[in-house]
Point group: C2
Chain length 259, copies 2
């Protein structure tokens, strides 16, 4: 009896030790909330499903040397000129004025982007990445449905704290970024300690929609912006499909490279 | 054929006219996002389910003359002394230092609070109300499950734009406030034009949990703060129960009064 009691206590003790040893995971639902989380000892996953982080995955998957995220069209043009790269970007969903290439993942085929450098500026995703840098993030990666498995494998292997950073739309919450956060949590929750209502919400929403995400998409405000105004239905489908560009974009010294 | 076509066109036209005449409804998931919404021609619903807006409803329902929300303990003490009111409030879930009364809706029984003025300071709810004032909100009311029906009836009757303002926890998103926003939307959506992912999320989460909200509560971070640290399970149940203090707290000239 004493033996069993002791055994149970030891098991319980080891269980709590293993629990407390797990890294934490939080979800930030908007760039305006990112400062609430301690990024300095965390991996930050930049999430901009429609479309920056889907486009970054697509370009790197198709052999781009790297993606340089910048915060202005002017910088995109300057840097791409000086290194012979491709300047690209969008503002409010359209190809930004002064650029020839936009933020569509479909644009960066292997034929076009292999062995080239993409210099990219977008409304939300590149801005969030800059904020993660300003908040001293330990490690920065980029995630979206096209590289879901690569993101999950990296987070589990690294055993560090994680902040899933949703880019939203001009600081407003959006559902597609939260659904991706939910998809990550759905796969890797058991490896993390999660006390975070944002993560609970994201995982619950994802679990409810996961078999019909493309059917759910027409309810999203961003869908209307992209499909009804610009007819970008193929972009939407690509951005919501798991592992069609399954590469890990890791930020290092001003560049996102495939790890 | 032509007649039917004409009739359909007229019906469609009238449908769009009626659609576009509906006021808008948005949900702000955190005080840090409130500035993204135009409050100057909106009714702002302050939502702090655990527990400020549940306590405000409770006090007014039980006959308090009014509730004066203030942003500091010192102000609560000064004002209550000068008018002979009850100073009350919490910091981090506990009765604030220097006060005798806290932020529990159970404390404000009719025997205690009838015909008295409650001067209340809380961590999140009173701060959000101040922010709504600073952003020139047209009208401010307070809502929680105990006064769900009164809030919905007012919003439908007024026919103005609505911003459902979640107080969260120190600017972080919390689920109980979003669930209440979802409960409101679930009841009144047809009277509003809603293009807002936060509202879509809130309503979806509420619709999924509405018959088991009290069973869902232990998953919330705030539940742990209130129940595991302070044993406030009765508070939780009250705050999540529809219409147990069904009064409308309307802000006017520094005071919340029952409309």
């Amino acid at each position: 009896m004493l033996k069993i009691g002791l055994l149970n206590s030891v098991t319980l003790f080891l269980f709590f030790i293993s629990m407390s040893n797990k890294p934490t995971l939080h979800t930030s639902l908007s760039p305006a909330l990112l400062h609430l989380y301690d990024l300095s000892n965390s991996i930050v996953v930049i999430i901009d499903v429609f479309r920056a982080t889907s486009t970054i995955a697509s370009a790197l998957y198709n052999g781009a040397k790297c993606v340089i995220p910048v915060d202005s069209v002017l910088k995109a043009i300057e840097i791409s000129k000086s290194i012979g790269g491709i300047a690209a970007g969008e503002r409010d969903g359209m190809i930004a004025e002064g650029l020839q290439h936009g933020n569509s993942p479909m644009e960066y085929t292997r034929e076009f982007i292999e062995n080239k450098t993409l210099v990219l500026t977008t409304t939300n995703g590149t801005r969030l990445l800059q904020m993660a840098l300003d908040n001293n993030a330990d490690t920065i990666i980029a995630g979206s449905f096209p590289n879901l498995s690569a993101v999950c494998a990296f987070l589990v292997a690294e055993k560090k704290n994680v902040v899933l950073g949703c880019a939203g739309w001009k600081d407003r919450f959006n559902l597609e970024d939260s659904l991706f956060a939910g998809a990550v949590i759905n796969r890797i929750a058991k490896d993390f300690t999660i006390h975070c209502d944002s993560s609970l919400m994201a995982e619950t929403m994802y679990a409810k929609q996961k078999n019909k995400i493309i059917d759910f998409a027409p309810k999203l405000t961003h869908y209307h912006r992209l499909v009804e105004r610009f007819g970008l239905i193929e972009d939407i489908k690509f951005c919501l499909t798991n592992d069609v560009a399954n590469v890990l974009p890791l930020y290092n010294d001003g560049k996102l490279v495939a790890k």
